[in-house]
């Protein structure tokens, strides 16, 4: 039984695309067949973050308009044989695709894949409606900043009104030192306001940006953020994984490793 998940946030720049790429890699590491769809027509990014930009021949709009078959547009990931990308078009805009067409496309992909993950554009206009039309569940990404939380709240309301019942939250770019100083909201406080299920919190680490710039995922590396994304992927499949304590590091093993590094 395959699941269709939309990754969305309302606000731009909070880490939807990075999260999509890493969740996809995490699911693929668990030997799931996964397709990531970039629905941000006109401002495509997911291919860049995954390092697959130079392999694009056909895109989402080509598939929808019938210029090619779905399989021709799918790009296999460099590392994970079970992970595919359906890239977005760069030369068109959001109106090139309708919600009905997205539903039809996603339906055909659920025959082949265990997970269909849709990377939603920022905003609540046509692109958002396209991305959410076909989804059964949603992952809302926010950062512990007031503006991002406002937008996430609005998005959750819209998703609920759209009939999506399963809504999970990722709190991205948490800075433990700032939370300690009382200069940033803690994950708990964000949850208090948004009142949805937390599926993971990602610490603010350089490694995430560096990996994305190299077209790689942090999942699989020994960083805290890599582990946090891997745990999110495991939770998506229904496993119960305890939350990482962002302050003290991931596990005992992790602490021992970092202890040796310091010397």
């Amino acid at each position: 039984m395959s699941e269709v998940i939309v990754v969305t946030s309302g606000k731009g720049g909070v880490g939807k695309t990075t999260s999509t790429a890493n969740i996809g890699a995490g699911l693929a590491r668990m030997n799931k067949k996964v397709v990531l769809i970039d629905t941000d027509i006109g401002l495509r990014n997911l291919d860049v973050v995954m390092g697959l930009e130079n392999r694009i021949i056909y895109n989402l709009v080509d598939v929808v308009e019938g210029n090619c078959r779905v399989k021709q547009a799918l790009i296999r990931d460099k590392h994970y044989p079970g992970l595919y990308l359906l890239p977005s078009a760069q030369t068109r805009d959001k109106s090139a695709v309708s919600p009905e067409q997205m539903i039809k496309l996603v339906d055909s992909l659920t025959q082949i894949f265990d997970y269909v993950v849709l990377d939603c554009p920022a905003g609540i206009e046509q692109g958002f409606r396209n991305a959410t039309a076909a989804a059964q569940r949603a992952i809302v990404v926010t950062t512990p900043e007031v503006s991002a939380i406002r937008d996430a709240d609005r998005i959750i309301g819209l998703l609920q009104a759209g009939g999506i019942k399963k809504i999970d939250l990722i709190v991205n770019r948490v800075r433990v030192d700032m939370v300690k100083r009382g200069e940033m909201m803690s994950v708990e406080d964000v949850l208090d306001i948004l009142a949805v299920n937390l599926i993971g919190a990602i610490p603010d680490e350089e490694s995430v940006v560096i990996a994305a710039n190299h077209g790689e995922s942090v999942v699989g590396s020994d960083t805290l953020s890599g582990q946090a994304y891997m745990n999110i992927a495991r939770r998506i499949t229904g496993e119960t994984v305890p939350l990482i304590d962002l302050e003290s590091g991931a596990t005992l093993l992790h602490r021992v490793v970092s202890l040796f590094r310091r010397k």
């Binding site: 007031v146 939380i149 406002r150 937008d151 709240d153 609005r154 959750i156 309301g157 819209l158 609920q160 009382g182 200069e183 940033m184 909201m185 803690s186 406080d189 964000v190 208090d192 306001i193 009142a195």
Partner: protein, 225 residues
């Protein structure tokens, strides 16, 4: 008077009135009135749908008959169903739909969190069981009680009633309005850490000013006086 001028038949959601086809209308009207006067105790204050049968009526005649019924009993006529569609199913739908509409119009309780961009407007007082998040709005012609954290915009007494109040377990609203008075929260330079302790507060108008006060015996006494 001829008692067979009108006979009543009922189903669970309404009444069918069999009318005499030839009797002059005024006499018929009187007969209907008498019939319902006699059976007022039986129907009590039932809410039901009506069908007229046996006679073609104009709109005016229909409303005169309804008036005769209402004046002679405590029945609330919810709608009149045309004879040709007068199945029980149709009755059921018409009655339950109208009752549902009345219930939602009263809108006394709202369950769940009101999120940014959502607006709740009510003609009566409203109790929110959940939070009112920043960017959400409640407009009530009566009072507003929030069993949760109020961080959005609230407007009580929207019809102009200055005696209305608003209360919340945690009162951190963007703006509060009661009737023609408005207040906004102070702009704080401190980082919003999202920690809002539970401190029940009430907002009301006193001496031409909005009062925002903790709910204690003293403030409640002041509000009620």
């Amino acid at each position: 008077m001829d008692h067979s001028a009108v006979t009543l038949k009922s189903n669970p959601y309404g009444l069918v009135l069999n009318l005499d086809p030839v009797l002059p209308f005024d006499e018929l009207c009187a007969a209907v009135g008498e019939k319902f006067r006699n059976s007022a105790g039986f129907f009590k204050n039932a809410k039901l749908a009506l069908t007229f049968r046996g006679r073609v009526l104009t709109h005016e005649q229909e409303s005169r008959l309804i008036e005769a019924i209402v004046q002679n009993s405590k029945i609330e006529v919810i709608c009149v169903v045309d004879e040709d569609k007068g199945t029980e199913e149709y009755y059921r739908k018409a009655v339950t739909h109208t009752l549902e509409k009345q219930e939602t119009a009263q809108g006394q309780f709202y369950r769940g969190t009101l999120r940014s961009g959502q607006v709740l407007e009510t003609e009566t007082s409203v109790v929110i069981i959940g939070d009112v998040n920043p960017g959400a709005q409640i407009v009530s012609k009566g009072n507003i009680v929030i069993l949760g954290c109020c961080m959005g915009n609230i407007y009580a007494g929207a019809g102009g009633d200055r005696s209305c109040f608003a209360a919340a377990l945690t009162m951190k609203p963007m703006q509060v309005r009661i009737a023609d008075k408005a207040a906004r929260s102070a702009i704080s330079k401190k980082t919003d850490t999202g920690e809002y302790p539970v401190e029940p507060m009430i907002v009301y108008i006193k001496d031409d000013h909005l009062q925002i006060k903790p709910i204690t015996n003293d403030t409640l006494g002041e509000y009620l006086s």
